[in-house]
């Protein structure tokens, strides 16, 4: 090598350069201590911990619009239990790789299955937030939440999140994952329109068939 110990001096030059730049260049810092991050994309008032349930962001780490943690059930606003999307078809319970979902169907008083889950528990200690349940769900009823601080002092029942804690409104979903929520709603709207169109077409076909039958019947009793 060039001069004696040249490589070592070159290395020391790099560390000195990093030492000096870490005071001026903010992006060089690996641990971005968010308490003094000026840009506004994180909600202000970083100090006070989110009080009411369901508020999505906490002050300690980045929770971006894309991060997914534990699943949540969606309902379309108003009283959660009557607008819930989940129909307890138990596909996600079967498909879940670590088997952490437990569902029981809901029956009304005279035993008829009404399309609602009576019990929907997710064992958060087993769930590995792999998002397979979201993919296999035909009714877009389950999506990933980004709330990850679910630690509880109670070891036995604490980590089993019940149905009522899982239920979140659709506009909360828009708040945490705006792009994804919009795309999902748009897809659902398209499907609904397609279903209506199909139903309407089926209805017309049925009506046309009925008229034809009525016409033949009329023809029949005409002779």
């Amino acid at each position: 090598m060039s001069i004696l110990g040249g490589g070592i001096f070159k290395g020391m030059k790099v560390t000195l350069w990093n030492f000096v730049l870490s005071y001026f260049r903010r992006d060089r810092l690996t641990t971005n201590d968010y308490s003094w991050r000026p840009d506004g994309d994180l909600p202000q008032g970083i100090g006070d911990y989110p009080k009411e349930e369901g508020e999505q962001l906490s002050d300690t780490t980045t929770v971006t619009n894309y991060s997914r943690n534990f699943p949540m059930l969606l309902h379309d606003g108003g009283e959660p239990m009557d607008t819930v999307r989940c129909v307890a078809c138990q596909i996600c319970e079967r498909e879940c790789p670590p088997q952490c979902i437990y569902i029981e169907k809901d029956y009304d008083e005279n035993g008829k299955y009404i399309k609602r889950p009576a019990v929907f528990d997710i064992d958060v200690s087993v769930c590995m937030s792999c998002q397979i349940c979201v993919e296999v769900c035909p009714f877009d009823a389950i999506v990933m939440n980004s709330q990850f601080e679910l630690s509880t002092p109670d070891r036995f029942g604490g980590l089993l999140v019940r149905r009522d804690d899982l239920l979140k409104s659709n506009d909360y979903y828009h708040q945490i994952h705006p792009e994804e929520a919009a795309a999902r709603d748009q897809k659902m709207a398209v499907e609904k329109a397609a279903k209506e169109a199909k139903k309407k077409a089926a209805a017309e076909k049925a009506k046309a068939a009925a008229e034809k039958k009525a016409a033949e019947a009329a023809m029949g009793d005409a002779e």
């Binding site: 001069i3 004696l4 790099v14 560390t15 201590d33």
Partner: protein, 382 residues
């Protein structure tokens, strides 16, 4: 309490207080500087303990100290209890003892004390004699904790310290030869007015060898083999926790202060610096400033360099440092005689020749020892 004892107390207590508080400051400085080198922020949460004021994390040493006090002090069952306890104490005693040989004239002690340690006739010899005790402490720790890793660490430490003490002493011999006396105050007096020894070629070479050997003596960065985390967990203080570990830590830092203090005395002109005429007490400030400059370089090295292997470490000491320091003594001898004629041209010529000889032998030795070690070229396949 007779007068003599009070004098001794007046001399030693400030020395201990100043260097203990400097120790606390250096731990904070090291963690902050290392953090900044690694693009982190370093401790900034602990200000005044148990309040929310965080003045740049300056309370961190206090917090560490309190933590160390309350940590459980585990002694392994098979260990030799007496020696396990004695080792950290023996690591601390020489480091503290040696501080009194540094030529630090505190303003208030000038009048009182009949004899000051650094005015001793053999101050430099005492310095090396007492730093030698550190080897024993490390060996005792390694052997007493009866654990394979610390045994390995202890053996490595003893071998490393013994073989690096020789270049350390030989490079100090040059300055003593130039000054003609072992007395620390005379050495500093010789270098007043900016003609420090580090500015002469043989002085610079001696300073570099002294600095590298002092790194090895205090187990600092490229030579921190005795406590190599990645290989033998924490070397000789694997089995130490709680306050005994803190004592080792304190011992290592005070040894760092002591050795860089000697380096400053021998090569950087002790308390010499501008503005001394105005305020004589400035010499203490200059002395500590130079020590902190050396410690900053040590921290900088710690943030950059990986560790040497044991046999390379030994090879470097015996096959590179030792011959170079012996040659340096010869060169310094000739240069001293040439200087006696004190004609400008002769000194310049001797400086140039000695610089050439020293650099030539250094790179020659380096080529001899590690000739085949070179960055390699690689082929590419399409």
């Amino acid at each position: 309490m007779s007068l003599v004892l009070i004098d001794i107390l007046i001399a030693t207590v400030p020395l201990m207080l100043i260097f203990a508080s400097l120790f606390a400051f250096t731990t904070w400085l090291e963690r902050k500087a290392l953090a900044r080198i690694q693009n982190r922020i370093g401790p900034n949460k602990v200000g005044i303990p148990c309040t929310r004021i965080s003045l740049f994390g300056l309370g961190q040493p206090a917090a560490d100290g309190i933590k160390m006090l309350f940590k459980e002090d585990i002694v392994p069952r098979g260990a030799d209890r007496l020696f396990h306890l004695l080792a950290p104490i023996l690591a601390l005693i020489p480091a503290m003892l040696v501080l009194c040989f540094l030529p630090l004239e505190f303003p208030w002690t000038k009048s009182l004390l009949p004899v000051q340690a650094f005015l001793l006739d053999g101050a430099v010899i005492f310095f090396f004699a007492i730093t030698g005790l550190n080897t024993l402490a490390v060996f005792m720790a390694g052997w007493a904790s009866r654990n394979k890793y610390s045994l390995l660490g202890g053996m490595r430490a003893v071998a490393q310290m013994v073989s690096y003490e020789i270049p350390l002493v030989l490079s100090a011999v040059i300055v003593v030869m130039m000054v003609g006396s072992l007395n620390a105050a005379d050495i500093v007096k010789e270098q007043t007015g900016w003609n420090w020894y580090v500015f002469s070629p043989w002085g610079l070479a001696a300073f570099v060898i002294f600095f590298i050997a002092s790194l090895a003596e205090t187990n600092r960065s490229p030579f921190d083999l005795p406590e190599a985390e990645s290989e033998i967990i924490a070397g000789y203080f694997t089995e130490y926790s709680g306050f005994k570990f803190a004592l080792f830590f304190l011992g290592e830092y005070i040894a760092m202060f002591a050795i860089s203090g000697l380096a400053v005395t021998l090569f950087l002109g002790g308390g010499d610096g501008p503005g001394l005429a105005a305020a004589p007490w400035l010499s203490v400030v200059w002395f500590l400033a130079k020590i902190f400059a050396l410690i900053a370089v040590m921290i900088w090295l710690r943030g950059t360099l990986p560790r040497l292997r044991v046999d390379q470490l030994m090879g470097f000491a015996w096959k590179f440092m030792l011959p170079l320091s012996i040659l340096n003594i010869l060169v310094a001898g000739f240069a001293w005689h040439a200087q006696q004629q004190n004609s400008k041209t002769i000194t310049v010529i001797t400086w140039v020749i000695s610089l050439a000889i020293l650099y030539g032998t250094a790179s020659g030795l380096n080529q001899l020892n590690r000739g085949s070690v070179r960055p390699r070229k690689y082929k590419y396949a399409e």
